[in-house]
């Protein structure tokens, strides 16, 4: 069910560009957009063209670009509030990925996809596999075990549970600045830890 179903107030605020409404829509759909970007999809009608899923950086950019297009003023105002929003968002992502695919293929086959077929395209079933991930994850676990209780609590809430910095500050009685500082220190420490072990994200 689209997030706007039976919620005229949210639709009105979304159209007005209310930041809280945009954030709610973003939260509702971001994982689905990211999954599509990460896994890619196959277009059978164009000769089994596999539009490969994006790497981490491209996934980030695709998600940002998708929502930037969907949340642009004209797009918001043009949305009727009745059509399912998820296919609309994923259509944007698919088109962005097809554009990138075309740009990367020197001898690109022609991809002709109408809207109906585009909407029907599903993300690939499997998550992409990063062969380095397990080694990096193991080293990360070792790193986290070295952290003090405050930093470990932040890792749990912020990264594992996905809490906002504001929520963490409120829950732990910290200032927002302290949350940011501890978070930045954890990032920095992990980068250094991985580097010392000859590991990087490559």
């Amino acid at each position: 069910m689209t997030i706007f179903a039976n919620d005229r107030e949210l639709l009105d605020r979304f159209r007005r560009g209310d930041r809280a409404a945009l954030a709610a829509v973003f939260e509702h759909y971001v994982d689905q957009v990211a999954t599509l970007a990460r896994r890619g999809f196959t277009i059978e009608s164009s000769g089994h063209v596999y539009v490969r899923g994006a790497n981490r950086d491209d996934e980030y950019e695709l998600v940002q670009e998708t929502f930037a297009k969907a949340f642009a003023t004209q797009a918001r105002l043009a949305y009727d509030g009745l059509s399912p929003y998820r296919p609309y968002l994923l259509r944007i992502t698919k088109n962005l990925m097809i554009d990138r695919y075309r740009a990367q293929q020197k001898d690109a086959r022609t991809i002709a996809v109408d809207m109906t077929e585009l909407d029907a395209l599903q993300p690939a079933a499997e998550e992409p596999v990063d062969v380095d991930w397990n080694r990096l994850a193991a080293a990360t676990a070792e790193y986290v075990a070295t952290l003090g209780p405050e930093a470990r609590e932040l890792v749990r809430r912020r990264f594992e549970e996905g809490a906002s910095q504001d929520k963490i500050a409120e829950a732990l009685g910290w200032t927002r600045r302290k949350v940011r500082t501890v978070e930045a220190d954890v990032h920095k420490g992990l980068r250094s830890w991985l580097k010392q072990r000859g590991l990087s994200g490559g």
Binding site: F26, R56, Q64, L136, E160, G162
Partner: protein, 199 residues
């Protein structure tokens, strides 16, 4: 968010999927690009500093013209104004001006017109003064001087005009050039209007 932080965020979360910090950074970027600028929160109205405002117009610090003023963001001049009171505009309430998002104009003047056409001047404070120098105002956009709703504000709806200009203008200069129909008070100015209801 850089590429290294994206990786470490995912590693710390234990999943090679979009992490919370990544989502936060993406949303920030999207909102910055697509949503109207966040207005200064009206919570500023309760700042202790505002409690120092005296009866009518209260300059809180000396206004020192700065030669270093530059437009904030973008090349196009922009003028925005929000006017309101924390809990409704009633006698004794403070009328606060928020010009966050304004760029390319250095001075700000404001007055209100009541239903009977009578003008109530807010800035400049008197006939010999000029408008507020925005270059020395807080970055929040909320002016560091407010107006206390006094007996001159009979209950009713007021149209509040904000005059943004490149040059310091006196009341008489604004009166001479002000044209609400064209939204101008002369070359290099922009007039923005809004309504305030005094109860």
């Amino acid at each position: 968010m850089n590429s290294d932080d994206r990786l470490t965020s995912r590693l710390l979360g234990g999943r090679d999927q979009l992490s919370r910090p990544e989502k936060d950074a993406i949303l920030d970027g999207v909102l910055a690009e697509t949503a109207p600028s966040a207005r200064a929160r009206w919570g500023w109205l309760v700042l202790p500093a505002l409690a120092l405002a005296a009866f009518l117009l209260v300059p809180w610090r000396s206004i020192v013209p700065s030669g270093e003023f530059t437009a904030r963001g973008g090349n196009q001049p922009a003028a925005t104004m929000q006017v309101g009171c924390a809990s409704g505009c009633t006698p004794g309430a403070k009328l606060v001006f928020d010009v966050h998002g304004t760029a390319g104009y250095r001075y700000f003047a404001a007055f209100a017109k009541a239903g009977d056409g009578k003008a109530l001047w807010y800035f400049p404070a008197d006939d010999s003064a000029t408008g507020v120098d925005l270059s020395v105002q807080p970055a929040t956009g909320v002016l560091d001087r407010s107006v206390v709703i006094g007996p001159e504000h009979a209950p009713g709806t007021y149209r509040v005009y904000g005059i943004f200009s490149n040059l310091p203008l006196t009341r008489s200069a604004i009166r001479a050039a002000f044209d609400p129909k064209t939204g101008s008070a002369g070359e290099g100015t922009r007039v923005v209007a809004t309504e305030v209801v005094v109860r």
